[in-house]
Structure formats: structure tokens, C-alpha cells
Chain length 149, copies 3
């Protein structure tokens, strides 16, 4: 935790939070894997190594990951919050934020997965728009698996 956070203009603060929210909504738009990938920089990294999974670099790979993931999902709800600024260089167009996600994922098999995670975002401006340069995540609490009713 960094408190107080580094100085950062209010409009940049809001733009960074917009991208975090856009990510949450994109992963809930099941079937639109290209939409998730578009939020990343072209060479952006989706880093799941701290969960024992892959580190995926580039929009094509990220889109492929979500195409596979979406195939077994019926409905998602990702609530993000606790957006905290760790670094901000508005001139260079780079920033770091952490956020919490409380996520529910209903599988096509009827099972429900509930996750409380902490996201670490490296964000960067690309052609005038903030994109995800790297997204990592860790679990705040063990995931909860609820069998189909």
C-alpha cells in the first residue's frame, strides 16, 4: 500500500480508473475476446504466473486465452474497486494501479466460481489512450466453488 499516492492529475486518475472498469466489463462480455484484448497494449502482458498459470504476451495470445476461457462460461460478474495509485508519470504516459476484484463466474455446467483477487496493473498510453501494459493478479482469499444446484 502506498499512502498518500503520488501526485497525478485528476483527469488522469479518472482515466486510469476507467480502464480498470473497462477491463471488468470486458471480461463479463462473454464471447467478445477481442474486446478484452483491445484493452491491452499491442505488446501487453497478461501475467497469471502468480496463479501457477501462463504469462501471455500480445493481443493475439490474450484474445486466444479468453476465447478458450469464455467457451466454458455462461455469465460473469466482475466487481472492481479499491483502485489505488502506486505510480504516475503523466508526461511519460505510464502509471501503476492496484485494484480489487470480487468476481462471480457461472459456468456452462452450472457451477459457480467466486473469486476475491487483487489486480496489479501497469498502464501506459498508446496512441493517446491508456492501455494495459501488464496485468498480474493474486488471490486475496481462496476461491469458492459452488456446485450446480
Amino acid at each position: 500500500m502506498t499512502y498518500p499516492p503520488p501526485p497525478c492529475p485528476a483527469d488522469v486518475r479518472l482515466a486510469l480508473a476507467d480502464l480498470v472498469t473497462a477491463y471488468a466489463m470486458a471480461v463479463d462480455d462473454i464471447g467478445n475476446a477481442a474486446g478484452v484484448a483491445s484493452l491491452f497494449a499491442p505488446d501487453g502482458c497478461y501475467d497469471l504466473t502468480s496463479l501457477g498459470m501462463d504469462r501471455i504476451v500480445g493481443r493475439t495470445g490474450i484474445q486466444g486465452f479468453f476465447e478458450t476461457a469464455f467457451a466454458t462460461m455462461a455469465s460473469n460478474a466482475h466487481f472492481v474497486g479499491n483502485v489505488a495509485l502506486g505510480a504516475c508519470d503523466a508526461t511519460a504516459g505510464t502509471a501503476q494501479v492496484t485494484a480489487y476484484g470480487h468476481a462471480f463466474s457461472l459456468g456452462t455446467d452450472g457451477t459457480l466460481l467466486e473469486v476475491k483477487a487483487r489486480y496489479a496493473f501497469d498502464l501506459a498510453q498508446h496512441e493517446g489512450t491508456w492501455r494495459i501494459a501488464r496485468l498480474g493478479m493474486t488471490m486475496l482469499l481462496p476461491p469458492v466453488h459452488i456446485p450446480a444446484p
Copy 2:
């Protein structure tokens, strides 16, 4: 999902989010149906048609709806987040935002209802203050009904 969102001054962004939060707190202030209705424009619309329910227009009707709804509620907790800007015309005083709500409602009969919903807000300035011109909602995941313990 609209990313990046349209330009909108930071103070307007914060004012729009204030109204979303005020709505969540108002529906948790059980018994104060007039408080909920006051957040709507005089000709505001509470549109539950996508849930198979009514489309209510005007503060009197909205107040009546909440008087009925509150009668069977003991305690509520509406957590709102993921506030995303879809449209903003600061000059005209109109905006559109979506938001997520994670809501818990404890009935007077001891049952607990848990809802994950997506709100669609049309917001408009009325006499200098942002009010709800229309509020629609859809379910992100099926509601969960928990029997009384």
C-alpha cells in the same frame, strides 16, 4: 462497453458518480421512499421492463413503488461500482452511465435475496442538480434466494 469513454469534465464525472452512489444509499434507507423518488427528475422513469416488471414514470409513482417494496424489507445493502461513462454532454446537462450493483436484501420474513445487476442510468441536470431521467437494470447472474435461518 465504451472505451475510452467520451470526454467529460472531472467535476461532472464525480457528480454523476455521486448520484449513482446516492441511489444505492437511498434504496438502503428503508422507509424513506420519498428519498428515493427525489433522486429522479420529476418526469423520471424507473424502468423494470427488462425484468418483466413495470415501467414507472414520475416521482409519485416511483415513491409508491418503493413504499410497497420497503414494506417487506428489513435491511438492505446495495454496493455499487464499475461506474462507466457512456455519454456526456456537459453543456446540455445530460449523460449516460452504467454501473454494477451487488445487492443484499433481508426480508421481514428472514429470507435473504442477493442480486448482481447492471444498471443503465440516463442522467440529466434539473434545476442545477443531476437527477435520474431513466433507470433500467438487467441481471448479471441469476438472483440467489437464501431461506431464513
Copy 3:
């Protein structure tokens, strides 16, 4: 609920929300009781009287409280949101905000506690940084105790 909220500069609004988020993250950083205490003003008050518990004044006492509390906690996740401005005097450096917290606490004994609470923050600038002058809380819904699996 105060709607619309009192006027307050956007950068102050963001700074107040930063402190609320920092508090949530600090109580999830189990073992770092000094980190929680540092968010309070030197004479800050952690007021749990509305929960039938103590009213603790000063950083030393607050740190001690959290040292004891953390001793039985394995993992926490505090999601805060619904940050609403009740008062703001940017010149004097004082403000009041309320916020909601959806908190999960996994005990060292494997039990899980889920809380939906409403926080009342009195915030004040101390040596140029916003700190917690007083934090009170009430329950929005009864806490849920989930036995160890």
C-alpha cells in the same frame, strides 16, 4: 444521505477516496498493525461503540487493537465503495465521508466471517496529508459466520 453533496474540489474528492481505499488495504495487510495506525491522525479515534466494542484513541492504542485482531486472522479482503461526501472544508482541511465495506475475514481457525458495514469517516489534514480523525461503523446486515470446511 446528503444529495447533492457539498462542493469540494475534485483533487480533494480523490484524496479523500484514496484514504478510504488505503484503510481497506491496510486492514488486509495482516501483521502490519502499524500501517493501519499510521492512517489515523496522532489523536485519531477508532470508534466501535456502535458495535458494543471499544472507542480507541491514538495511534498506539489503535496499533495494539490491530495487533490483537490480526493474531487470529489468516487472510482478509475488504472491498470498499459507495464513498459519499457529507462535508468538506478544503480550507480548514476537514471532511466527512461515509463508505460501505463488504469484508471477508478468514480466521486462522478456518472460519470465514462476512460483513456488510457502513463506515463513517471524519478526515482531517495533518502535516499536509489526509488522515482519519475518527472512524465509526455500523452493520448494514447481520454478519455471516461460515464454519471451517
